[in-house]
């Protein structure tokens, strides 16, 4: 076990080094507009890694990921723009002004992780279906908070944040790349460790995992908290990258984009979401948007970039139900195993009958 762990760990480190070598010299080669999109893509990859930790590794469908993205983003944004809190019970925070931006990003991640611990502990006891539905409710509740306390969160328009990840686009690009590499090294270490192995055991066979004597709920909560932390950090970094805190961080379209990235890359792996995230985000923002607003809209066709991506997601899910690279095989099998245990499910493959 130790030798295999070492081998996979060395392999992963080589992978991280290759990734770094690929993206490090890029500012010399491409223009700033593409660099800006790529830097955002790095932060987006953090989200796809984060979603995959819960759904791909421990096998429960988390539809509430964006709650933590928004929590991290708003926490860090408000700490930097603490003047917005004057006149509320939180006014004492406004005396903390002048915190370095990385400190508030870290606090954003910690707040997201703390809320993740509370939500995870309360909901991961629920059966799979209920968990998916409860987590699906949460983003809407948090979107509503931005309207209810409009003076603080700025409602739909959000608010401008002045503290930036870097003074130039190149600086921001390297900051985002550094965050991605650090996160990747940590996540790869965790998933290759005993904890990662137990996550997969929980996903593959819950009963067997319990019989082996470890609490499936506790391991799922651990994955959920780590995922929330990464999502919070990514949300906070995004706010300081594009300099606006906005409630699209909480919203469902972002979640669907993350799911698309994981489905394209392959769930239950770390490298799959990395590749999928880079591809999906760059395609959407570098290639699809100009295409839509340059050619499709002028031609009078009611299509936008999001709709094309959602259609692609449906097509991939139906034509390749096990993911583009076949790695989704494990997830649905584990899920149906857990859900199908009741007397309701057919042993006869009914879905084939209609084919």
């Amino acid at each position: 076990m130790r030798k295999a762990w070492l081998r996979s760990y060395v392999g992963n480190l080589v992978g991280v080094a290759v990734l770094a070598a690929m993206f490090f010299p890029l500012p010399l080669l491409v223009d700033e507009a593409l660099l800006y999109v790529l830097g955002m893509a790095f932060l987006f990859v953090l989200l796809s890694i984060s979603w995959d930790l819960v759904t791909g590794y421990t096998g429960v469908v988390n539809l509430g990921l964006t709650v933590f993205v928004g929590l991290g983003g708003y926490t860090s944004g408000l700490l930097q723009e603490a003047g917005r809190l004057k006149g509320t019970e939180l006014a004492f925070i406004s005396e903390l002004s002048g915190l370095p931006v990385y400190a508030t990003i870290l606090i954003g991640g910690l707040v997201a992780a703390a809320v993740g611990l509370a939500i995870g502990a309360a909901t991961l006891r629920l059966k799979g279906w209920y968990f998916a539905l409860v987590t699906a409710i949460l983003p809407l509740v948090f979107v509503q908070t931005t309207y209810v306390w409009k003076d603080i969160f700025g409602g739909e328009e959000g608010f401008v944040v002045h503290a930036s990840l870097g003074t130039t686009v190149v600086e921001k690009y390297y900051a985002a790349l550094a965050m991605l590499l650090v996160c990747l090294v940590c996540v790869l270490a965790v998933t290759a460790s005993r904890i990662g192995m137990r996550w997969r055991a929980v996903r593959e066979d819950e009963v067997l995992a319990e019989a082996l004597g470890f609490s499936t709920t506790r391991y799922r909560v651990a994955a959920f908290v780590l995922s929330s932390f990464i999502a919070g950090v990514a949300g906070a970094a995004t706010v300081h990258y594009r300099l606006v805190a906005n409630n699209d961080l909480y919203d469902v379209p972002l979640l669907l984009l993350v799911i698309l990235a994981v489905v394209v890359g392959g769930a239950g792996t770390v490298w799959g979401p990395v590749a999928g995230g880079l591809i999906v985000f760059s395609v959407k923002n570098w290639w699809l948007k100009p295409l839509v607003y340059g050619y499709i809209w002028p031609a009078g066709i009611p299509l936008n970039d999001d709709m094309i991506l959602y259609a692609a997601l449906i097509a991939i899910a139906i034509l390749r139900p096990h993911g583009l690279w076949g790695s989704l095989v494990k997830m649905p099998k584990a899920l149906s195993h857990r859900f199908n245990r009741g007397p309701i499910q057919p042993k006869i493959p009914l879905s084939r009958a209609g084919r």
Partner: protein, 288 residues
């Protein structure tokens, strides 16, 4: 402080909202109970029903009651088509079904946004004017929407418990293997359930639009309300979702009156989540 006038207003307003929500959520829970899929596009069907009815009235100039009925049936057809074309082959892959239907919901939302814009539209009601209930004026469509919902739900109950097809659907939801063995045509029953479920969503949407108006963001807003209601009532339980719908309707109306409309959904959803933490299987949920 609670005058009889306010009490009656709350009773009617909450009842109307509860009734429309019951149409929405009974369809959602039915599709889950029978076919075992979570249809994330259910809220999109609700909104689409409203917009189809609006388009029929606007372009053909027909009576709203006819437009409402036609919209409900058209939405039923959309649902059946979705099931046949997209879901029939993948329905055993639960995560995939959630992803596909959620993507479909957002495509429909974008279509509605592009076609009708983000501002709310009002559908001309089946009956205009106000009625006086104990000398309190209440718009007639509210009372009618409540009556429509109750009658439709009663018809659904009769269909499920009294007719042969309805009993076959119940059988399929209780024991699929057994249903196959005794020779029931499962795929047909599934398709019929999806059709009925979508008709209920479309009807609910068309009625909702006549009382409250409609905008494309309803796609996700009512979907989340449906989630909260069915987990509160117990997934797969029709009775539970109807009871939970009315509770939800009254909570929303009460919060709107006491705190203001912007709080209503947040408080309602938080209440449901709090209840769920105490009672993980909902009011009438099956324990498994």
């Amino acid at each position: 402080m609670l005058s009889p006038e306010i009490l009656i207003t709350i009773l009617i307003y909450g009842g109307t909202l509860g009734g429309v929500l019951a149409l929405l959520s009974s369809g959602f829970t039915m599709i889950f109970g029978v076919v075992r899929i979570l249809n994330m596009a259910h809220g999109a069907f609700f909104a689409t029903g409203a917009y189809i009815a609006y388009t029929i009235v606007a372009s053909l100039g027909t009576a709203p009651v006819f437009a409402t009925a036609l919209a409900a049936i058209l939405v039923g057809a959309i649902g059946a088509a979705m099931y046949r074309a997209l879901l029939a082959h993948i329905k055993r892959l639960e995560a995939t079904v959630i992803i596909v239907t959620l993507a479909l919901a957002l495509i429909l939302e974008q279509l509605l946004l592009i076609r009708f814009g983000e501002h709310g539209l009002n559908l001309s009601p089946i009956v205009a004017g106000v009625v006086e209930i104990f000398t309190i004026p209440i718009s007639a469509i509210r009372v009618l929407a409540l009556a429509f919902s109750v009658v439709t739900l009663a018809l659904l109950a009769v269909f499920i418990t009294r007719t042969r097809t309805g009993k076959e659907i119940v059988a399929a939801s209780q024991n699929l293997e057994g249903a196959v063995i005794i020779g029931l045509h499962i795929e047909k029953l599934f398709l019929l359930s999806v059709f009925i479920s979508s008709v209920l969503a479309g009807l609910g949407g068309a009625l909702y639009a006549q009382v409250y108006g409609v905008n494309p963001f309803l796609v996700l807003r009512v979907l989340v309300l449906a989630f909260a209601i069915v987990i509160f009532g117990g997934l797969g339980s029709l009775k539970g979702s109807v009871v939970a719908s009315f509770i939800m309707g009254y909570i929303i109306i009460l919060v709107t009156m006491l705190l203001g409309a912007r709080w209503s959904e947040m408080v309602a959803l938080m209440t449901i989540i709090a209840v769920l933490v105490i009672r993980p299987n909902g009011l009438f949920g099956v324990r498994d």
